[in-house]
């Protein structure tokens, strides 16, 4: 699915990702844990092709190096980033945005675009599962949403777009206990042999709900240790001291 080789990323001439290697096979869930400021969000932006993130090395996605593709092209190919801080966009209505996004992706995949009724039925079904109030969807995108509502809205978008490679950047932070379960169920429902996840988190708790196949410790722009889900437990108890020079 995704094969990252010797990835280096700099922002405003500051080197942040410093030679990252990571291979995620189809159907796998990988978790990344690491101290604040170690470059986890930077990695997620670089994978999404954000402008201003100078990347070198290789990001192979289904056999194609996508380094030169722009953000929307990557999204249309099935890469999805659930943001750590979803942005508020006044004036752009959530429903409208969701439909535009869904149809852009469907069109790129050669699928039929959904009309208003088809879309509303689909969004109704998906948002009920995530316990998202439909009143929320008639408001401007993320404006006035609580922290948890914003995160749930990210997961709603994920479930609508049905991407193949999903990066979740601290989706669990800001969620209450019930919301964490709802979101985890949403994610688990999407797990499939054709879909891979990269989950960035600070807390082992999320990984109790979404069992990862691999856990990586990220420090100073690199993976410094990899293991199975027990590594997360170890980190929870001992912290990062052992891995950070």
């Amino acid at each position: 699915m995704i094969d990252i080789k010797n990835l280096k990323v700099s922002v405003e001439d500051k080197d942040i990702i410093k030679g990252l290697n990571l291979k995620i096979n189809k159907g796998e869930v990988h978790a990344i844990m690491g101290p604040n400021g170690s470059g986890k969000s930077t990695l997620s932006y670089a994978l999404s092709g954000k402008e201003g993130y100078e990347a070198e090395g290789e990001i192979n996605y289904n056999g194609e190096n996508i380094l030169e593709l722009n953000t929307e092209e990557r999204a249309q190919k099935g890469i999805f980033l659930a943001f750590q801080y979803p942005i508020e966009i006044p004036g752009v209505f959530t429903n409208n945005f969701l439909r535009t996004s869904l149809n852009a992706v469907r069109k790129a995949k050669g699928e039929k675009e959904l009309n208003a009724v088809e879309f509303l039925n689909l969004v109704k079904e998906k948002s009920q599962k995530l316990k998202i109030d439909k009143e929320m969807l008639s408001r401007p995108l993320n404006v006035g949403f609580s922290g948890g509502e914003k995160k749930r809205n990210e997961i709603l978008q994920m479930s609508l777009l049905e991407p193949n490679f999903i990066i979740m950047d601290e989706t669990d932070s800001g969620l209450d206990i019930d919301a964490l379960k709802i979101v985890s169920n949403g994610v688990n429902a999407m797990r499939s042999p054709e879909r891979s996840f990269l989950i960035i988190t600070h807390y082992q708790r999320l990984l109790n709900y979404i069992k990862p196949d691999f856990v990586h410790v990220f420090s100073d722009g690199k993976i410094v240790e990899s293991g199975d889900w027990k590594l997360a437990l170890e980190l929870e108890n001992d912290g990062y001291a052992k891995f950070v020079s």
């Binding site: 722009n70 953000t71 943001f83």
Partner: protein, 413 residues
């Protein structure tokens, strides 16, 4: 227009035209003399400093007046919703008078004109006007259907200057909604001035919408003077889209307690369009409120100017004056000029103003693109969202849809 000898000859011919009624001749002569004394607006005059007119009027060296005898009107321009029609073709009122249920719409009948010292274009308008419409609403009457004013500029008009005077009077506790739009059939040069006087009696309520859309080589001056008595309300929404050169000027006098005026303008400009907004709100009595809201999205080499003034008289305690302007600069060549002005002589007032201009938010664009929306479309969504904030406040659903459709039309081209 700066060759006064030429202009004088032009006026001599004009004032002898048949349609000019004898009562107004002397006022026209006086107004013309005032114009000649003051001269054409120039960038050196404070009042015209940011005005496209100060640059444009030089091009109109040979003014040509004309009356189009052809009264035909293309039906396709009519709005689909139920409304009262007021048709002005090349400055001439061609629709029939309306008299029903406390509403009266006729040709403009006033013949007394005031002077505003700094405003020589008003003098010009007073000298050269063709009578437009006059709308009167009786007391306690709520006009159920909106009135739609069509300013139609046809391709068979062979002059280059049209000046209209219009008048709206709402008697006590009456209510009306007016939607006005411009229709331009060609790209000929035209200098168009329009003066509208509005008088609202106690408890009257007027909402006015104006769509000034796509034109080329048109220099437009809109001047509205509104006087509000106690408890009356005047709300105005303008949508200016790709107007080549235009000044929208409004003076609102809040002359009775609890009077309220709300002025809103969105402008979407590209290429070399230049739109100027000049508003002056005079709080002359206690407990009066005003709101000014301007949003500008500026592409290419377009320029927008906004000058909003709040004046508060010493006896206008408890005034509430609000002003906000936001501009989106969509090219590094577009310009937004802003000059808020507060002149306050009372001590117990609440006045606030804010102005900002900047480019489109890149983080938002990234977010939209990360959801598969391509960059141009993401930008359109942002611009639309930015301007929609004002449109959302439009209460009349038909007009709101017209404005939204306009916005979509813009974004799809």
């Amino acid at each position: 227009m700066n060759d006064l000898e030429k202009l004088k000859n032009h006026f001599e011919g004009f004032k002898n035209l048949e349609f000019i009624n004898s009562e107004s001749v002397q006022s026209r002569i006086d107004a013309f003399e005032r114009f000649c004394q003051k001269g054409v607006p120039s960038l050196k005059q404070e009042h015209w400093k940011y005005s496209p007119l100060s640059k444009d009027l030089i091009h109109f060296q040979n003014l040509k007046f004309s009356l189009n005898q052809n009264k035909s009107f293309n039906d396709t321009h009519f709005e689909k919703f139920d409304h009262y029609r007021v048709l002005l073709k090349d400055g001439v009122l061609i629709s029939d008078d309306i008299k029903e249920e406390g509403l009266e719409i006729t040709k403009y009948k006033q013949d007394q004109f005031y002077e505003i010292e700094k405003n020589q274009i008003l003098d010009f308008n007073n000298a050269f006007f063709t009578p437009g419409f006059e709308i009167r609403v009786d007391s306690n009457v709520n006009i159920k259907k909106p009135i739609v004013i069509y300013n139609y500029f046809s391709k068979d008009f062979d002059g280059n200057n049209i000046n209209n005077k219009n008048y709206i009077y709402l008697d006590k506790n009456s209510k009306a909604e007016i939607y006005e739009k411009n229709i331009f059939e060609d790209e000929k040069d035209l200098f168009f001035t329009k003066n509208l006087d509005i008088e609202l009696e106690q408890d009257a309520n007027l909402v006015k919408y104006y769509l000034n859309s796509t034109n080329n080589n048109k220099t437009i001056y809109n001047f509205i003077r509104s006087k509000l008595k106690q408890n009356s309300e005047f709300e105005k929404f303008n949508f200016s889209h790709n107007v080549s050169s235009c000044r929208d000027e409004i003076i609102a006098d809040l002359n009775g307690t609890n009077a309220f005026v709300s002025l809103n303008n969105i402008q979407h400009l590209s290429q070399k369009c230049f739109h100027e907004i000049k508003w002056e709100i005079n709080h002359n009595e206690e407990n009066t409120r005003s709101s000014q809201f301007v949003k500008s999205a500026l592409h290419d080499d377009s320029v927008a100017a906004f000058q909003g003034k709040i004046f508060v008289d010493s006896k206008a305690q408890k005034t509430d004056g609000y002003q906000l302007s936001r501009a989106l600069l969509l090219s590094d060549r577009s310009k937004f000029l802003s000059k808020p002005e507060l002149e306050i002589y009372a001590d117990d007032v609440k006045c606030s103003h804010g102005s900002s201009s900047g480019s489109i938010d890149q983080e938002s664009i990234f977010y939209l693109r990360s959801r598969g929306i391509n960059e141009p479309q993401a930008k359109c969504m942002m611009i639309e969202g930015f301007l929609a904030e004002v449109i959302n406040k439009v209460k009349n659903e038909d007009v709101r849809n017209i404005f939204y459709n306009k916005l979509n039309e813009i974004n799809n081209t």
